[in-house]
Each structure stands twice: as structure tokens, then as C-alpha cells.
Symmetry: C3
Subunit: 142 residues, 3 copies
């Protein structure tokens, strides 16, 4: 599989909640890392998404928000993945920041250099990757 998304997470489905139009799917990534996706019920049916199904979860790096450690706030985003900054690669305006999660999963994000500076992001620092469930795409083998 070759996709432009910088985040390709392998896992298996650990829970599915059905709605009329959308469904909420929880994916266990290995270790204790988990990711929740909102997909349409039509996708649940056509891809056969049930508990135990092996899937990949795709997330473009610009869809990931970062939060500094010690932020005294709880977010509606279903995926608040606490980890450690592995690397910061600055561009002209933006920077690509990669976190390592406790279970070993790596998460890449693109944020402004201004944000990197404000949040004090550098290798070794704790930070949280925030991903809205509706921005996660699931894939199964064809």
C-alpha cells in the first residue's frame, strides 16, 4: 500500500458503535495505543468492519494538532495520544513534529514553527497528539 498520508497505523478493531449514518470504530494499535475513527455505516458494511478485523488507520500529518504537556484541559477529540517528541524538522513556515507513543507507535504532525516555539517542542519533551476521530481513514486488504 502506497499512500501520501504520513501516518499509517496498523491495528485491529476492538469496538464498533453503530449510528444511523456514522459509526465509531476503536482500533487497538499494539502496546496500549488506541485510535478511534468515525466512518460511515456504508463503509462499515462494505469493508466488513467488525471486532477483530485487521485494519490500517490513515491520518494526514496536517490533521494532527499538538498540545504541550501539563495543559489543564480535556478535549472532545477522541484521540489525545500522549507521547514524547522524537524529532522536529523545521520548514520555512511549518515544522514536522514526530511523537513516539508509549506502545511504540509514531505519530507525525505538521504545525506552525510559531507553535513549536510556543509549546517548547524538542526531542525528549512530553506532548500530546490530538486527532479528531472524523479525520481517521480506515483501510482493509482488498
Amino acid at each position: 500500500m502506497k499512500v501520501s498520508a504520513r501516518n499509517v497505523f496498523k491495528g485491529s478493531i476492538s469496538a464498533v458503535l453503530h449510528g444511523a449514518v456514522n459509526a465509531e470504530v476503536e482500533v487497538s494499535l499494539g502496546g496500549s495505543d488506541k485510535l478511534v475513527a468515525i466512518v460511515t455505516m456504508e463503509s462499515v458494511r462494505t469493508l466488513g468492519l467488525t471486532v477483530g478485523t485487521d485494519v490500517v488507520a490513515l491520518v494526514k500529518a496536517p490533521w494532527v494538532m499538538l498540545m504541550a504537556d501539563g495543559s489543564d484541559i480535556r478535549l472532545s477529540a477522541r484521540n489525545c495520544l500522549r507521547g514524547t517528541v522524537k524529532s522536529v524538522e523545521p520548514g520555512a513556515v511549518n515544522a514536522e513534529v514526530t511523537l513516539t507513543l508509549p506502545g511504540g507507535t509514531e505519530v507525525s504532525s505538521v504545525v506552525t514553527r510559531e507553535a513549536v516555539s510556543e509549546l517548547g517542542l524538542k526531542p525528549g519533551v512530553a506532548a500530546t497528539a490530538v486527532i479528531k476521530a472524523s479525520n481517521v481513514i480506515l483501510g482493509v486488504p482488498a
Copy 2:
């Protein structure tokens, strides 16, 4: 709270509509400015999102679309926030455009320089910031 999102709006919840998987939450930002967010019902429950709750609404700048004034179109995006261009900061390919809304809220967006030119965006010009409700993240004090 330190987050990478360039838009951090403070407000309080003025309406909640429940669905099976998702809920629609209206946030009053002060002045007459309002923002609608779609979050999961699980977030409504765990964060205790009810009418009157103080929240912050987070939106990454690249998730904001801009529309020139006088566009003869109505959009499905629940947040079409009409304001005035405060500043345009051009980068190599993109530009950061900040609008001021009537109630005083400022909204930052990242769009292409090509779009800035096509839409004639410069300080003082009227424009509309378009934000899909599903791209708004809500936060409450921890």
C-alpha cells in the same frame, strides 16, 4: 493551555443536539459570534457538555476556508463567519489570513497565495471564514 492550533475561541455552550453517535454543540463566543461543533456523544458525556458549560473551541488554521464578499452562494458548512480581513502574511506558497468578526473574535486561516490574489484579500476587505462543524475541537478545564 498550550496547543498548536492557531484558533482558540473562548465561549459557553448555548445549545446541544444529541444523535446516536454524534452531537451538535453550539458555542456562543461573545458579541454575536457563534460557532457550531460536531463531537461524539461519548465526548458530550465524558466532558459534561451541556448548555452553559464554559468551553474553548480549537480550529487549526489550515481547516479554515475563505470566501470573498458578495459570493452568491450558501454553504453546508455550519460556520460561515463574516468579518473583515485584519492581516495577510504571505509565505512561499501559502498565506496566513486573519479576519476580525463583528463580535471581536479573530479567525486565522491558511490558504494559497493564489487564492488570496483571486479573492482580492487585503486588510479592510470583507470576507467570510468557513469552518465545517466537524473540524472544531472542544475543550473544558481538566
Copy 3:
């Protein structure tokens, strides 16, 4: 209509599926090209979105993911639009890649230059534009 979104697709609604909060709207773009959008029920009501309504579908280029041809995977994203690369315009970090679909529709995406290289994207090559239905904004004449 002047909007910053690089993708403005004209079409007419060919199907609508109602939920409690959200609705799924299928737009026929001409030729055999189709696009599915998730919008709120409130938008369905206020914009009068029913089968046969002429609409525009707006998608910002950074919300489009690309997949190389021959990928042995099926995705939950409702819009997997197979086409041919028309152009690749490299920037410092990202590149704008435009595909032409069989029905003639053009789709612009912004992905990293790293992804362009990994996927072997260049004019004439087959590729798939992946767009989550929740990232499509619909518009009707005012």
C-alpha cells in the same frame, strides 16, 4: 462565487440518506464521477438539499490524500476517485498534485514531496484521490 478552496466541483444531488444529526449526500459530477458529502441535517433543511438539487462541492486541496495505483487496500473514505496525474507542482516541502478523473473532473491535492517521490507520482501515472465525505462542503445558489 470566489472561495479559497482549490476544488470546486459542480454537480447535482443523486441521493440523500438522513440521520439524526448528519446526512449523507451523493453528488453526481458529470461523466461517471461522483462525490459523497456528510453534512448536518440542519444544512439539509436550510439549503433544501434534495435529489435533483444543483450544488457545488468544495474541498480544500490539503484535505485530499493520494494513493498509488495497485494498492491492495480498500478504504473507509467514501470518495476514492481513480484518475491520472495531470501535473505535479513542487514547493519547498509540499507539492500540489492534480489528477484528472475519467469523467473529466480535476482534483487538486497538497501532499508532501516525500510522498510524491514514494508514490512515483508524475504526469500520466494512475493514482487515486481519497477524500473523506466529512471534508466536503456543499453550496447552493443564494
